[in-house]
Symmetry: C2
Subunit: 110 residues, 2 copies
């Protein structure tokens, strides 16, 4: 087993002001997102369950039409298939990790 370091994992810009880095397991996928102030991630859905950990900043998720504000140390468990989008609230950069299960092969812009 080799250790991985986020600093060495390429970041792709998926929407303006939003970068994504991905680590693939066999049974799950771990994603690190960095959102700049003012950025938003459009509503979408996927068959994987998503557990989102917010490390810094504030971000509003809208899950199946209901808005939920998440700050540092807060967590959202988004059920498989639930629609969800997000927008940064305030002027802080948001860092978050998303664990997805089963593993997800993420397509650009998805």
């Amino acid at each position: 087993m080799r250790p991985l370091n986020w600093a060495a994992i390429p970041a792709e810009t998926v929407y303006p002001g939003i970068t994504r880095q991905t680590i693939q397991g066999t049974l799950q996928t771990m994603v690190r997102y960095v959102y700049q102030p003012g950025s938003r991630f459009p509503v979408h859905s996927h068959p994987q369950e998503q557990i989102t950990l917010v490390i810094s900043g504030s971000i509003e998720f809208t899950v199946d039409g209901t808005a939920v504000l998440l700050g540092p140390g807060e967590v959202a468990v988004i059920p498989p298939g639930a629609s969800h989008g997000a927008r940064v609230v305030g002027d802080q950069v948001v860092e978050s990790f998303n664990a997805l299960s089963p593993a997800r092969t993420i397509q650009p812009g998805a």
Copy 2:
């Protein structure tokens, strides 16, 4: 969907100097560990894949007999069934998150 906050989730002491908090999804389990300097988690294994994110501090994992040092921003993907244990290196508190898939009902001391 309701947001969760680690500060409101009970912490159990699993070994001396090691606390664990758990959030259960349907398909995966998210665990936050805090390890005090000098603490160690004995070698064990489980059928779940484990992705460990180190947020702060330095910790040595031994995975299938091979030692791997992880620091802030580093990640280990531990295959299902692989034996693994951990010990803190240095004098910093270690905070880490473990994503487990499939979901794991953790028993005390496991």
